[in-house]
Amino acid sequence: MIIHLWSYLYKHVFRFWIKWILRQLTGKCELQRICDGSKKSAERTLKIEHSLESSKNKVLQSAVHAPEDEVKKYVALIMKEKKIDIQKDTGFSLKLQMCLLQITGYKKLYLDVEDLRKCQYNSCNEGHEKQLIELWNLLMPHEKLKARITKQWCDIGFQGDDPKTDFRGMGMLGLVNLLYFSKHYTHEARQILTRSNNPKLGYSYAIVGINLTEMAYSLLKNGALKTYFYNLVPSVAQMDHFHRFYCYLAYEFDKFWFEEEPESIMYFNQYREKFHEIIKRRLQDYDVVLAL
């Protein structure tokens, strides 16, 4: 109750006055103070984002939703609104522009990822089928697929004889992630596939991959991945960067699983949750850099 009251008062009363006093003392607005006080990293971008979103000014509020080609225009508008003299603070406009590109880029990336997720795997789509076969060929270079519908799919960890039903809620995003890992980290992917066939500690490679895609997707959706992207990409994040995060998860999960030595695959969800917590903790660090 007291916490609620305090946060209400802070948001609606104190924040304004603290900002006003600081402005009088330093001669700079909050955005300038953030840019001066923090190094180029997720910390700066996150603080700028928070400052813009909690602003009462409509221009500042809408800046975080600007399309990429209007970012420059928004920077100029913000500087005008905040009466920032470009001569006095020469680095500011560039710093703000970088932050805005990162902030709006993240939002745009989420929409792109969401589009791919909503795209259902369709066996009548030649492009989809080609990618599925390519996944097989990359993972099993010495074994030919005998038919499109075959029990062989279980060898790379699908549930039955036709993988199409396994993509479900993750749609093409699940397949594209699996394929990206096999294509760009072929050696690691094959190694993990071999390990996943361990008779005692094994798990279903493809199914677990689709589960990890769901993890990556939900971390992107709830904003937890911001630290990762803001540190990794100096301007607009691309789909590739998201796939790379999936690769990191796939690699780390395998390591985690064999270290934990679960009793059986039936405990997957408990260990998945434990792994999820570890990743969330890593992402809370402002300086986080996650790479394979």
Partner: protein, 182 residues
């Protein structure tokens, strides 16, 4: 915990706990059904490795629903979850005619299990939202459900996606919780 909630707890009788086992082939819709029962988002579902469990309050019961993955590789683990089951819910993808035989075999094996003997069984003829779905009556006939004599059973057509028919099935579950034949 506040005084009020303690008083409230003392006053009302505790809900009877019911153990429900949710089985069926992979892609039958078990997890979607589970999430539909718990009123959760059903748009991000992925194949189940292992199992999911959720507790749902319904008509004075606390339903503990165990949703076990259906892929062939993990079906041998199903038996680890049989003990103390009050109700078995078996889910069928009514549109996947090619696998009716497989799903019938799995169901027949379950009904032969000693640990599940006498346990009431509800069969959900799921995915009725699809145009190609077989009607519940056709599935009942194909699976020879009328030959089941050692327990109470029911087949209910439903769509876990839209929620249609799910509540009717759960009403049957609540009515038959104590119908286990010893």
């Amino acid at each position: 915990m506040g005084l009020l909630s303690i008083l409230r707890k003392l006053k009302s009788a505790p809900d009877q706990e019911v153990r429900i086992l949710l089985l069926g082939l992979d892609n039958a819709g078990k997890t979607t059904l589970l999430k539909q029962l718990a009123s959760e988002d059903i748009t991000h579902i992925t194949p189940t490795q292992g199992f999911n469990i959720k507790s749902v309050q319904s008509q004075g019961f606390k339903l503990n629903v165990w949703d076990i993955g259906g892929q062939r590789k993990i079906r041998p683990y199903w038996r680890n979850y049989f003990e103390n089951t009050d109700i078995l819910i078996y889910v069928i993808d009514s549109a996947d005619r090619k696998r009716f035989e497989e799903t019938g075999q799995e169901l027949a094996e379950l009904l032969d299990e000693e640990k599940l003997s006498g346990v009431p069984v509800l069969i959900f003829a799921n995915k009725q939202d699809l145009l190609t779905a077989a009607p519940a009556a056709e599935i009942a006939e194909g699976l020879n459900l009328h030959t089941i004599r050692d327990r109470v059973w029911q087949i209910q057509s439903c769509s876990a996606l839209t929620g249609e028919g799910v509540q009717d099935g759960m009403n049957w579950v609540c009515k038959n919780v104590n119908a286990k034949k010893k």
